[in-house]
């Protein structure tokens, strides 16, 4: 029996010492070492512009920013990277966009605003077709998932869902022993090297003086992002990448097709809009234009008709609630050209603003 105990203990130690150690040190989602995030948020709250730390969980960052902000927020813009770079003039505009935002992230951000009693005058939502491929409780940025559930409960008075908003200490402890988390840790370690983690680089935040595109992406005090310089590609490069995606029949976030918009998820979206209107918040919806070559592909193949369906649904929603709908997925309607794009997905920031300013009068 003793032999058995000893071997169980030995195996447990062999397995778990590296797993726990690496999970704690590398900490890919910033569960245990929030210092980098805290440093970044502190620097931003003091009005600094910083280099975007590569390791930062965007959901956690939004949580930290919204919970600690003291700045006046009149307008909140949320959505995916299609809205994270728009150079609005308004000083009181806060950027709550997160990469590839799903419906759950829209809910998560509104949940955070509600939870921390921040009531902006206007909310702009950059609506992407992939957002409706997932239900409200499947935030892409899981750090905000519980706020999405919180918000949904608030809207629907759904007592079935728990109202917790943070990962509990037990859940964090569980994650420390998680093999999936270990795999992410190993991936990060391979990518950055052990020195990066040992010499404290992972904790450092670099403050910069200007908001011009540079080697690294930047974040402004209102959480607006500045693209890294190498993010700007030539038309030829963009066409090549777009063609590859078309050949693979695999378009960013939409996979190999979106044939219809999930009605339940859209109903949840509508409920969110109605809630904001009822709370005297002005709502605007923005449809970011797709790269012309990609949009042509949507038109040629029958696999992406959900994109057209969503634009129609959003415009009907606009009419129904008297909401301004800006932009259009169709680049030709907004006079958007290939050279207006930084890469095959994102317009150049100033062109994003032009695109946002387009309000089509469609019948």
């Amino acid at each position: 029996m003793r032999k058995f105990y000893l071997k169980v203990l030995l195996m447990a130690l062999i397995v778990y010492i590296p797993v726990v150690t690496l999970n704690y040190i590398i900490d890919p989602a910033g569960l245990y070492n929030s210092k980098i995030r805290e440093n970044a948020v502190a620097a931003l709250n003091m009005g600094n512009i910083i280099e975007s730390p590569g390791d930062m969980d965007e959901g956690e960052f939004q949580k930290e920013m919204i919970s600690s902000t003291s700045q006046k927020i009149d307008t909140v813009i949320l959505g995916s990277s299609h809205v994270m770079y728009i150079p609005f003039e308004d000083d009181n505009c806060y950027f709550a966009g997160v990469s590839g935002a799903h419906l759950g992230d829209y809910y998560g951000v509104i949940g955070l605003l509600d939870y921390y009693s921040i009531k902006p005058k206007k909310i702009i939502i950059g609506v992407d077709p992939w957002a409706f491929m997932y239900s409200y409780d499947k935030s892409r940025h899981t750090a905000m998932q519980n706020y999405a559930i919180y918000e949904h409960n608030l809207l629907f008075d759904d007592t079935k869902k728990e109202e917790k908003k943070e990962k509990t200490d037990f859940e964090k402890l569980e994650e420390m022993f998680s093999f999936a988390y270990f795999q992410s840790s190993v991936k990060n370690l391979k990518h950055k090297g052990i020195v990066y983690y040992l010499n404290g680089s992972a904790q450092e935040v670099n403050i910069v003086n200007d908001d011009k595109p540079a080697e690294k992406a930047k974040i402004l005090p209102n959480a607006r992002r500045i693209m890294e310089a190498k993010g700007y590609k030539t038309v030829d490069e963009n066409n090549l990448i777009a063609q590859k995606a078309i050949d693979a029949n695999h378009i960013h976030q939409l996979g190999n097709g979106i044939k219809e918009i999930n009605k339940n998820n859209f109903a949840d979206f509508e409920k969110l809009i109605v809630y904001m209107i009822d709370n005297n918040i002005e709502v605007e919806l923005y449809l970011p234009s797709w790269y012309p070559k990609i949009y042509e592909y949507f038109e040629d193949t029958g696999s992406y008709v959900g994109v057209f369906e969503l634009e129609t649904m959003i415009r009907e929603l606009g009419k129904k609630y008297n909401i301004k709908v800006r932009g259009s997925y169709d680049p030709s309607l907004c006079n958007v050209k290939e050279e207006d794009f930084a890469d095959w997905l994102h317009l150049k920031p100033e062109k994003m603003l032009d695109n946002y300013n387009v309000v089509l009068q469609l019948e």
Partner: protein, 501 residues
């Protein structure tokens, strides 16, 4: 609580420690407690009532048999009815509603009743006990809690194997000594099962789902590739689950019956079903086929056939008729959809009957080709043919419904381009699949499985070979293997295919 999760491993470890440290007469209480905990963590609590009803009815019936009173047959029929009605109501009401809606153009709403965990498995298990007691080939359990443990023994509450009371009960209730070697065997088996599930099955699942989703693009030979890959996925999934279940039981000193025995080395479809989900096949043979063949109806039918068709055919036809019933039940058992009845039932019945009818022609062909029964080429041809026929049946299993399965099969006969779909597959599932390291680790596990299967086919133990290595090498293998699982496994994404049956 997924059985590949750390929480399940901890649960088992804790149970094993408690189990072997208390006097033997109390040990089965620990197993009962564990079984209840496992059940309530994994299923809707109220569904345990169905298990209680099954156990209570069977317990009552067996006590009645034991008392020697009359009307045994009526009590048997009543008890069988209770158990089958629960199973049918919970699992097949929606099939019935769906069929009525389709045939009568009605719009009756489907129901959302929860069946108890592993209901298809434990119902067969407890019915085998009931019938064995009725036929006086098993002893009657006096303690209802012991019968409850036999029915709900937690390793079995995932996907079987369907165990017989006469084989399992003595191990559950009779004293046994702590044996380190058995626990080590069990642990190795658990690790092996987890590797099969998280390294091979879960990764293949991504590819299979993609191929099955779009038969228009993946037509022609791709349909067959999809079907074979699904069979491989299912094998690694289900047999991996069985490895874990058998390994866990072994840690408690309980040997369960094997459910897989190198199925892909089978030479006929009949043989593959004797090596794949063995306990289900044995159950159907013992409790349906043999009683049917002995029934007056089939005996009379056999006599009539002999008179009309001659001695040889007259002998075969009743067997085929009994097989038809068995295979229909096999299909129905698999789930509440007609796709199972056709794919898992009728198709395999048809293939097996054809195999038997065409056997003389097959032998003649072999002789014409100057090949012996044990010729390697002939053997490979038979194995390949068997896997293809088996995979065709499994297309039904993995399709969303019967029309989808038929559509996919129809696409098999389309001449298709091979390169474009391949590029599509690589581009679309490459990242989710996990890249080269995932492919390598999958290759390692698959190669090891081939080795294990060959050993199993020869009735040898693959684990024995490991024990011949020096201890340092052995531990290096263990640690390497565990890290292979940790680094290359897919965690927390899907449950076992047969979980919840």
């Amino acid at each position: 609580m997924e059985i590949t999760s750390v929480s399940y491993i901890l649960f088992v470890l804790l149970s094993v420690l408690v189990y072997w440290n208390i006097p033997f007469k109390y040990r089965w209480y620990i197993l009962l407690l564990d079984s209840l905990i496992f059940y309530f963590v994994n299923a809707q609590a109220y569904t345990f009532l169905y298990i209680i009803i099954s156990v209570a009815s069977v317990y009552g019936a067996t006590q009645y048999f034991e008392s020697g009173r009359k009307n045994r047959k009526a009590v048997l029929i009543l008890t069988l009815s209770i158990n089958f009605i629960i199973l049918v109501l919970l699992k097949y009401t929606n099939l019935f509603i769906g069929t009525v809606n389709y045939l009568c153009h009605e719009n009756i709403e489907t129901v959302s009743w929860y069946a108890s965990l592993a209901i298809s498995f434990y119902t067969l298990q407890i019915i085998s006990y009931l019938l064995d007691c009725y036929w006086n080939v098993d002893y009657v359990e006096k303690n209802p809690l012991k019968l409850l443990l036999f029915t709900s023994f937690f390793p079995l509450m995932v996907s079987g194997p369907i165990s017989q009371h006469a084989q399992l009960a003595p191990q559950l209730f009779e004293p046994s000594e702590f044996c380190y070697a058995r626990i080590a065997t069990g642990v190795r088996r658990i690790a092996w099962g987890i590797a099969k599930k998280v390294i091979v099955a879960d990764r293949l699942a991504v590819v299979v789902a993609y191929l099955f989703k779009d038969p228009d693009t993946f037509s022609g030979v791709w349909v067959m590739i999809a079907a074979v890959l699904f069979v491989v996925e299912l094998y690694f999934d289900f047999s991996g689950c069985m490895d874990i279940v058998i390994g866990v039981s072994e840690c408690f000193g309980i040997a369960l019956v094997e459910n897989f025995k190198a199925p892909f080395l089978s030479r006929t479809v009949q043989e593959i079903w004797q090596r794949w989900h063995i306990t289900l096949g044995l159950w159907l043979k013992s409790y349906v086929m043999y009683p049917l063949l002995k029934s007056q109806v089939l005996l009379n039918f056999g006599s009539a056939c002999k008179k009309k068709l001659g001695k040889k055919a007259g002998k075969k036809v009743p067997v085929y008729a009994a097989m038809l019933v068995v295979w229909l039940l096999m299909g129905i058992w698999h789930g509440n959809s007609w796709k199972y009845v056709v794919g898992e039932g009728l198709w395999f019945w048809f293939v097996i009957v054809m195999e038997q009818i065409l056997e003389p022609f097959s032998s003649k062909l072999r002789k014409v080709l100057h090949m012996g029964e044990d010729s390697k080429i002939w053997r490979m041809f038979q194995c390949g043919r068997t896997i293809i026929l088996f995979s065709i049946g499994m297309i039904f299993f993995n399709s969303t419904d019967l029309p989808a399965a038929i559509y996919m099969l129809s696409k098999m006969f389309v001449i298709s381009d091979c390169v474009t779909p391949f590029n599509l597959l690589i581009n679309n599932v490459g990242t989710e699949f996990g890249g080269k390291s995932a492919l390598w680790s999958m290759g390692i596990i698959c190669a090891l499985q081939v080795f294990v299967d060959v050993k199993t086919y020869r009735n040898e133990s693959a684990q024995e070979i490991l024990l011949h290595f020096p201890i340092a090498v052995r531990w290096l293998c263990y640690i390497g293997f565990v890290y292979l699982i940790i680094l290359e496994g897919v965690f927390g994404k899907s449950s076992f295919i047969y979980f919840g049956f």
